[in-house]
Symmetry: D2
Subunit: 165 residues, 4 copies
């Protein structure tokens, strides 16, 4: 049944974390967060990931002419979030190529640390007219830096905490 | 880069079609439909698929105690939809097991028949308390009927029109 | 308590009607349509009102440089709408000036014809840069035509059906 | 044109303030926050107002059987908010009766302190079945306390800072 689904989604260092409080407007008549609204929360995560790593904002990238439209999005719903739950979103850069970037996301409930949602988004790099374009050199340099940092903690990803063997 | 992504998403007969007009509230500052809002449109598709196939509604299934929460959702964004575009959503039942159902979705723009989005959702069968449960016998019978109908039009799927060989 | 609230909101001929089926994504954990989502439905109403009256679309108006941003919105919630309810939205042009337009909205549940929501929106006329601008002459002419038609059915507004005295 | 609109909406002490960062999902193809999405932000404000004043949460009030559905909502849009803007929402309790509560809201942009939106919501007090009910005695006592505090700072409302004469 799930043979066409992506494998397990894990995180790699560095991991960005943010808190989000569920409002009525996020929920549905099933008493849980509506499945589409997690994509709003994912957006918060990658925006703040970029802000903290790049020392600039995605808005500024756009002003310089780099657009990163979503080309793929995936969510695996493990357990429901409810109204007024405090969620913890963990975001990491999974990998990138000259033309695209992939982020991974985990959402836990703060109170019981239960894993609720795993997901990823893939982004193409385009110019303002929507044409596929290369990621700017200096942006690639920053992303390479992020990924090289991580290699030092390989094997410990997903925990959010690094350990020496 | 995409090695962990699902393969091509296709439709099988019978295919349910509905039209949806994009409103301002669906779009974002990029001038296109916000990526999370396609999951709202997918919901319309599977609800109307069930209504047309089951001669009952998902609301009635819930009243009888069967809940079908989303366990997975996937979207592949091929081209953007814009404000006031008339979209055509095609929905099909991909397969089902005793405990889950999988729907496939394609969204085309009506004007130029361009494929914009492909996606799927997987649904677990639970009772009101959220416990995994078997799909009711008569519901499984209906789903089996849908899937057996389709075998007669093998080779013609995706066209939306059945042909006798 | 309500002394600062607008008075009763009524409709005038011509009235545009459209149906909308409530989806899960519209509802909240209270089991009813989320209060902010009615503004999405109002948007559908005024867009289709304009399309049917102007024989052009709001999208085309924008392409010609006329923007009609919302300057005020009001909702009075009389009774809740639930998942899968079929709603009937009635939209009318209340009045207009050289610089603004006001629409009125009523939402009834189709099944029991109960009035659920009354509301209005006011729109400023601006150019693309956001500067207040006069409504184009030919657009004012159409609006005047709409309002003059209505005077012939004065006293019968709100019913949706005109009667000769 | 605006003769049926509410008068100026002001705040009274105590005022609750929170920050909100605009995401893509809040905006529309006009390049600004979609008019309906401000009602989501208003919800955040009154929830956090209650949490900070009551030392309990609205979720807990609901568990005890008190529901506060929105009976009216009003927004006056003065200037647009854009993607990635940091907004400052100010919330105050305007007044209350035995059966209802009224909140006032102002939204400023943090950067230039420009006033963007003014609005209010009115809430009925109901039990779980939706029947109008009296606000519980101890809840009324808290609300009275909030309102009596304010009288001491009359003349200084709107500033967000209290001063002794």
């Amino acid at each position: 049944m799930n043979k066409e689904s992506p494998g397990p989604i894990e995180l790699k260092e560095p991991i960005h974390r943010l808190s989000y409080r569920v409002i009525y407007g996020d929920t549905d008549t099933g008493g849980v967060v509506y499945y589409g609204n997690y994509l709003r929360i994912f957006e918060m995560g990658r925006t703040e990931f970029l802000r903290s790593m790049l020392k600039t904002s995605y808005r500024d990238l756009e002003h310089e002419g780099l657009i990163l439209p979503v080309s793929e999005a995936y969510c695996r719903y493990k357990a429901p979030a409810h109204y007024d739950d405090l969620l913890e979103l963990s975001t990491s850069l999974e990998n990138f190529s000259k033309f695209s970037i992939r982020f991974h996301f985990l959402i836990h409930r703060f109170d019981d640390q239960r894993l609720l949602v795993r997901g990823y988004t893939v982004h193409a790099a385009t110019d303002r007219s929507g044409r596929l374009t290369r990621l700017p050199k200096d942006f690639q340099t920053v992303l390479t830096g992020i990924c090289s940092n991580r290699s030092r903690v390989q094997g410990f990803r997903g925990s959010g905490f690094t350990e020496k063997p």
